[in-house]
């Protein structure tokens, strides 16, 4: 037996990058929300880090083993929401089981895990049966979450599953064909969309049409970003943030705060950090010992990327406003816990890549 080194417990590179990003996020949060929010968020981050390190010690085989079970569990919970959910602001997303939980958050893991589990049993590239089975899994969860209604999460969950199919090596022809089909289907989707969702899309297309109401957020966010310039206005010096012109500046719009106070240089630094994290995670995935591990790591990484893209695109007026936080930076417990847990899975894959081979 060789001597166990640090790489057998954690991935030091990934940990270092994550800690840097989390610290950067807390600095911005301090300016956006003050010391009280920083304190609360720091506690959640610590909890998340502990969870990450614990998960990193679990053998990936365990996740694989329990995948069908937890997937079924999450679907049961989604049905539970459908019948017994708590309605908040017109949407039924929560389930009260002593503590309130949001099963759709759980699906962010269970759907890609389930699809990876299906692919693990296929010879890759997958044949149509496995692809069809995967699409059923994805469609079921996406549909249940969409009707809550929660358009943003349902799209993300659909994507997380589709990423697994992509990484499994489905042929490019099918990917392109599927893409064309999606574009053609969009009028149908529009027809079935809720009025407020249609409003969001319309407002995204022309935010100035309604400057004091729904368009306000995007306009103020763009002002915050643009007025930051190259070097930014300085920490705690952003007028858009400090004078409350910027909405939800601790949560969904925290990147606007960062842009205003640290300027383009600050944004660049953030994206470099994110790029390095994604590169490291894809590297871990590529080095993984089996297909399941590869697919789950790859899918979680790409979902992380999608989060970043949607949030950064939304607040700068490239995408419609969808309530997606900026990963590991926005204030909020669920997001940081689930993300750090997913990095825990990746670390587990990293630390366990060689043991079996021995």
């Amino acid at each position: 037996m060789r001597k166990r080194g640090i790489n057998d417990w954690i991935d030091p590179w990934l940990l270092l990058l994550l800690l840097t990003l989390l610290a950067y996020g807390l600095v911005v949060l301090y300016s956006a929300g003050g010391p009280v929010l920083v304190e609360r968020q720091a506690i959640r981050i610590l909890m998340g880090l502990v969870a990450m390190l614990v998960i990193a010690q679990i053998r990936p085989e365990r996740f694989e083993q329990f995948t069908p079970l937890i997937f079924v569990g999450s679907v049961v919970l989604l049905f539970g929401v459908l019948f017994f959910g708590i309605t908040v602001k017109g949407a039924k997303r929560w389930l009260d089981l002593g503590i309130s939980i949001q099963p759709s958050e759980l699906c962010k893991f269970t759907v890609p895990m389930m699809v990876a589990w299906i692919m693990r049993h296929a010879a890759l590239p997958p044949d149509w049966k496995h692809v069809f089975g995967s699409l059923l899994v994805i469609g079921l969860c996406t549909g249940l979450i969409y009707q809550q209604p929660d358009l943003g999460t349902s799209i993300l969950i659909a994507l997380s599953g589709l990423f697994v199919i992509y990484l499994a090596g489905i042929s490019w022809k099918l990917i392109i064909g599927g893409g064309i089909l999606a574009v053609l289907a969009s009028p149908v989707v529009w027809h079935f969309m809720h009025e407020y969702q249609k409003q969001r899309v319309l407002m995204f297309l022309n935010p100035e049409s309604d400057p004091l109401n729904r368009g306000w957020n995007i306009i103020q966010s763009k002002i915050a970003i643009g007025s930051g310039g190259v070097n930014g206005k300085g920490w705690q010096q952003g007028s858009q943030t400090q004078l409350d012109f910027l909405p939800e500046h601790s949560t969904d719009f925290i990147l606007s705060v960062l842009s205003e106070e640290f300027g383009f240089i600050g944004v660049l630094a953030l994206f470099i950090l994110y790029t390095l994290i994604i590169m490291r995670c894809l590297f871990i995935a590529a080095q993984a010992k089996n297909t399941y591990n590869r697919l789950i790591c790859g899918a979680l990484t790409l979902i992380f990327f999608v989060y970043i893209t949607i949030n950064a695109g939304m607040i700068s007026g490239v995408f419609p406003v969808v309530g997606v936080p900026l990963p590991l930076v926005s204030y909020g417990g669920t997001s940081v816990l689930t993300l750090l847990a997913s990095f825990g899975i990746m670390m587990s894959v990293h630390t366990h890549k060689k043991l079996i081979q021995q």
């Binding site: 010879a123 007025s227 310039g229």
Partner: protein, 610 residues
């Protein structure tokens, strides 16, 4: 799933290929996103920075304080007083419209007021105060203060508003300010005026608007997204309006106003040595204070329809025939053109006829005045003497001689609204009546009738020149340095002396028309005149004007200066429908001069009283 043939190496390679593609997509997407941020933060930075400042910084105007107006002795005539307005902030009182009915117990509010407030409330931001009522009276302020606890969100706010002291007496000089209207606002420099500013509408307030208004300052307020003020700084201090120091002596102004008693008319007192107007009244005046807050329709109609026309500024707008008050000027013209000398005599038979013409031009005295010289002709106001003189002068010489005395021209007095008089001439008649000049018109021009029209200020200017023996000191209301000019024609001292003596004889000679008014304190010179209200038939000429109904009676004029040797004050009085210059206008002029002398030469009274 059954048994499948797995190919681990191939699967790994397949995954790595897909991961590379994914990484490529990640980098491309991130670069696209960064280019979006680069566009917003670098290329459009200036635009968004100014947007951010617009968000944050609200500029408020600091209304400049309007310039004060003082009389020559430093008595405050126009000032700015704190007034109170009731306001409400709808954010703090969402149901304030319902409370207005309750508020009516203490604050007078009409249905119109309430409807206006409701209309304003629809568009007014919740944090911005809405004015419920301006110019609260003391009772309203006190009543509201006691009941304030019933009206959360309501408050009383102070502001400055114009206040006139001695409003009625000073009304036609000062004019008034009132809220600027849309038309006026459109013509103003909008960096200096706000849509709810006060602006001079009449009189000095209008003429000196530029100086009085001042330039507003700017208050920069940093506000948050809800419009709440965070901090304020004065970015530009306002420059307040300039103070006006008038030439008017309030004491003399009051004396002049009171001298009219119940009569209507106008009086102007000028220092002929410097053109300073010491008093200028148009009777009746009115309370200019009621215009500031906006006069009620009812009160305004009452002012408009009053037969005494209180809103009409007779001093600058009233057009009157000069009548016999023109005679001293005619005498000067005759002397200057060597048509008469101080010794020239003529025989007045009571009428005058142009050669080969039927029409008789009458003396005011039936049967005539007999043999008269120049002094007698002025003292007794002998028409025939001046008919003859006018005909000898001819209309062209009359016009060119009188013009430098500013007849028929604007005096340029520093007050808004002056009307031009008429100095008759061939040219004027051609232009305005499209007719040639008839010789008979020259005859009546000699006694200041016909087309001749003067305004009291114009007459005051001419009298200033006459009293100062040819010095043209422009008359003015606001103290300033003036440049004395001189008449273009050289008039000898003897000629001036002859006319001054003639005017002195009007009061001080036994045959003077105003001999009843002679003063034992000082010597003054004068000349009465009658301004015809309607042309009269021949039979009516000798009819006593006093017997006619008042509104048909002639206007009475009197011009005077004193003391004769060294004139300090020149006075023009028009007593409307006063009928007789000597009986109606001259006593008013005398009272004004007495008031002046009592202020400036009290020793003359002490010496005799003792």
């Amino acid at each position: 799933m059954g048994k499948v043939l797995k190919q681990p190496i191939r699967e790994k390679r397949l995954f790595q290929e897909r991961a590379w593609v994914a990484m490529g997509i990640v980098i491309v997407v991130f670069l696209l996103l960064l280019s979006r941020y680069f566009y917003l933060q670098v290329i459009k930075h200036d635009h968004y920075l100014s947007e951010a400042d617009n968000n944050r910084i609200k500029s408020h105007r600091i209304t400049p304080t309007r310039g004060l107006i003082f009389d020559r002795n430093g008595t405050l005539l126009a000032e700015n007083k704190t007034a109170y307005r009731l306001q409400v902030i709808s954010e703090k009182a969402p149901d304030f419209v319902q409370q207005l009915d309750q508020l009516k117990q203490w604050i007078q509010l009409s249905e119109d007021n309430i409807n206006d407030i409701k209309a304003t409330a629809k568009y007014n931001p919740a944090f911005k105060p809405i004015t419920i009522k301006e110019h609260l009276n003391e009772d309203e302020v006190a009543a509201f203060a006691v009941n304030q606890h019933r009206f959360p969100g309501f408050h009383i706010a102070p502001y400055l508003v114009r206040q006139y002291n001695h409003a009625e007496v000073m009304s036609h000089v000062i004019g008034y300010v009132s809220k600027i209207n849309a038309e006026e606002y459109a013509q103003k420099d909008q960096s200096r005026y706000a849509a709810d500013d006060y602006v001079g509408k009449l009189g000095l307030e209008k003429y000196h608007e530029e100086d009085l208004h001042g330039t507003p300052g700017m208050l920069r307020t940093e506000t948050n997204a809800r419009g709440r003020q965070l901090n304020q700084e004065v970015a530009v201090a306002p420059s307040h309006g300039k103070t006006l120091h008038l030439t008017i002596d309030l004491r003399l102004q009051q004396a002049s106003y009171e001298a009219f008693g119940e009569e209507t008319g106008a009086a102007i007192a000028v220092n002929p040595n410097n053109g300073e107007i010491l008093a200028m009244v148009s009777k009746p005046g009115y309370d200019i204070n009621q215009f500031i807050a906006g006069i009620s329709h009812q009160n305004y109609q009452a002012l408009l329809q009053s037969p005494d026309k209180p809103l009409f500024n007779r001093s600058i707008k009233g057009g009157y025939e000069p009548g016999s008050t023109i005679k001293p000027y005619m005498a000067l013209a005759g002397l200057h053109h060597k048509l008469i000398t101080p010794e020239t005599t003529m025989f007045s038979t009571g009428s005058y006829q142009l050669p080969n013409q039927e029409r008789k031009y009458h003396d005011w005295k039936r049967g005539g005045h007999g043999k008269v010289d120049l002094t007698d002709s002025l003292a007794e106001s002998v028409n025939v003497f001046f008919y003859d003189l006018a005909v000898k002068l001819g209309i062209d010489r009359i016009e060119s001689f009188l013009k430098p005395f500013q007849f028929g021209q604007l005096t340029g007095l520093d007050i808004a609204g002056e009307k031009r008089g008429i100095l008759p001439s061939r040219q004027w008649k051609k232009a305005n009546r499209d007719m040639i000049w008839f010789p008979g018109e020259t005859v009546i021009t000699g006694i200041g009738q016909g087309y001749f029209v003067i305004t009291p200020v114009q007459m005051a200017q001419a009298l200033t020149i006459l009293a100062s023996k040819g010095k043209i000191n422009p008359i003015h209301l606001v103290k300033r340095d003036i440049n004395t000019a001189y008449l273009p024609m050289q008039l000898s001292e003897a000629h001036w002396q002859a006319v001054h003596e003639g005017m002195s004889a009007v009061i001080n000679a036994p045959n003077g028309t105003a001999r009843a008014l002679a003063s034992d304190k000082y010597l003054f010179a004068g000349k009465s005149g009658t301004s015809q209200v309607f042309g009269k038939s021949e039979e009516d000429i000798y009819k006593k004007n006093e017997e006619l109904p008042k509104h048909l009676r002639n206007h009475a004029l009197f011009i005077a200066f004193a003391p004769v040797e060294q004139p300090e004050i020149a006075v023009v009085v028009v007593a409307e429908h006063g009928a007789s210059g000597t009986k109606a206008a001259a006593p008013i002029a005398k009272k004004i001069m007495d008031a002046y002398m009592r202020i400036h030469h009290p020793e003359w009274w002490e010496a005799t009283d003792a």
